[in-house]
């Protein structure tokens, strides 16, 4: 019972979700919209699971006073400050919440990503040694794209455009088709109850 009912829910919801795409009846489309709205709302509750996990994980380290617990306390305090200000003070453009986002969160995230500019250079030095034909192709493509974006040389810009439009598109397209087939196969397995690992043990 504890396994059969969830499998039945997945089957009915999945079949309706898939078939409703092809049935252009207004009633069916209305129910499809309703399904999407429900998914959005349940998804919002699912974020609550993440928040509880976040608080449990950091809270446990603070109460046990493990090494570096003060930083975990900082993470909890930052979360409480941002969420309280956002929940009770609103999220309008002139709000304190927006100020904290624009002048604390955004600069920190941008700086964190810009750090990679340094590490990516050393990683490239290790990875880009042209030891094989494939590594040489990778190196050449990367160098042409990097130089083509900054150097004001006509043929280099054209070469960059060509690499991006032809071999890069071919590779991306092959991967995308493969990913699409994978999504369809996995989704079918879930709807038909073949893939049931989400039910857990027991």
């Amino acid at each position: 019972m504890r396994r059969q009912i969830p499998l039945a829910i997945a089957l009915v919801a999945g079949l309706f979700g898939a078939l409703s795409y092809f049935i252009q009846d207004p009633t069916v489309q209305d129910i499809r919209e309703q399904l999407l709205a429900w998914l959005r709302l349940i998804g919002a509750f699912a974020i609550g699971i993440g928040i509880v996990s976040f608080l449990r994980n950091h809270g446990k380290k603070v109460t046990r006073q493990v090494s570096g617990w003060a930083f975990n306390a900082v993470a909890i305090a930052s979360f409480l400050a941002m969420s309280t200000i956002g929940l009770f003070g609103g999220i309008s453009d002139s709000s304190l919440f927006r100020k904290m986002f624009d002048f604390a969160q955004v600069p920190m995230e941008a700086t964190m990503f810009s750090l990679l500019a340094f590490f990516i250079a050393s990683a490239a030095f290790r990875a880009f040694r042209a030891r094989t034909k494939e590594a040489t192709l990778l190196l050449l493509a990367a160098v042409v794209v990097m130089l083509g974006r900054v150097a004001n040389i006509d043929w280099l810009s054209q070469a960059t455009e060509w690499i991006l439009a032809v071999p890069n598109t071919a590779a991306a397209r092959g991967i995308t088709i493969g990913v699409g087939l994978g999504i369809v196969a996995t989704a079918l397995k879930i709807v038909l109850g073949i893939e049931r690992s989400y039910l857990g043990g027991e």
């Binding site: 309706f16 349940i42 930083f71 900082v74 919440f97 050449l140 990367a142 794209v145 990097m146 071919a170």
Partner: protein
């Protein structure tokens, strides 16, 4: 040179420097900024989801439905449309407030059932919610993914839209132009379409694992690796440029907005 007096600019600058201190070595200042960032990000999404989903899609319609509990179905229907109450069953043209409340409480109940994961004795209840999320999500994904990731991509590999005209990628005209006026430009015009088709097929051959990569399939898979390597190289180059661009942005912020060294 005029240093900023804005407290927010100072906060942004100090956090920026704290994170750059990692370039020297992992240190408490970096760890402090890192944990603040994690906390702020979690708090940000909490507030955004509350204000953009929970309040407009659940709380407001629920409060409206309860407050208009005595309305007739017809009255409530026009009231719901006038107040743009979302997540209400528009399929039922003359729905009553009771139906609306039930339709709002079902997803809320499924959402709350997810939290039973933290209570081992009744954690099996969360399977119902997970089954709905995965089942409905998978069902909706099947046709969408087939359409956008497979059919549209295959179409793009065969033909190209040039305004209102559909042109095949393997263009005889391009080859005719090349043979009538040989040159690098016309050569690349002619080979680009066929290369795109061959490249896509070769990459797909590389990902086909049901047969051993020998003979023609092996050769195609090998060519697929070359296309993939060029693709990865281009992506890497692009990523590097994006990161360097971010670095320039942060430096400009420190030198212009904070220290005022650059105008």
């Amino acid at each position: 040179m005029e240093i900023s007096t804005d407290i927010w600019v100072w906060i942004a600058a100090i956090f920026t420097l704290f994170i750059y201190s990692f370039l020297y070595k992992d240190n408490p200042l970096y760890k402090f900024a890192e944990h603040v960032m994690v906390g702020l990000s979690t708090g940000y999404y909490t507030a955004i989801v509350f204000h953009t989903v929970i309040v407009p899609d659940f709380w407001e319609p629920l409060v409206h439905s309860i407050s208009k509990f005595t309305m007739s179905p017809a009255e409530f229907s026009s009231y719901a449309i006038a107040n743009e109450l979302t997540t209400l069953p528009t399929v039922l043209q003359d729905f009553s407030p009771v139906v609306a409340i039930i339709m709002l409480l079902i997803p809320a109940l499924l959402g709350l059932m997810l939290f039973t994961r933290f209570i081992p004795k009744i954690s099996w209840l969360s399977r119902f919610s997970l089954a709905f999320i995965l089942g409905a999500g998978s069902g909706l994904a099947i046709p969408n993914s087939f359409q956008t990731r497979i059919l549209e991509q295959l179409r793009g590999t065969i033909v190209e839209d040039q305004g209102s005209i559909v042109v095949p990628l393997f263009s005889i005209d391009a080859w005719r132009d090349f043979f009538s006026a040989p040159g690098i430009g016309t050569f690349f015009e002619a080979v680009s379409g066929p290369l795109l088709i061959i490249g896509t097929l070769c990459v797909l051959a590389y990902f086909f694992f049901s047969k051993e990569h020998k003979g023609v399939l092996g050769g195609a898979a090998k060519a697929g690796i070359w296309f993939l390597m060029i693709g990865f190289g281009a992506s890497f180059g692009y990523t590097v440029m994006a990161r360097v661009s971010l670095l320039i942005g942060r430096m400009q912020f420190l030198l212009t907005d904070w220290l005022g060294i650059i105008d």
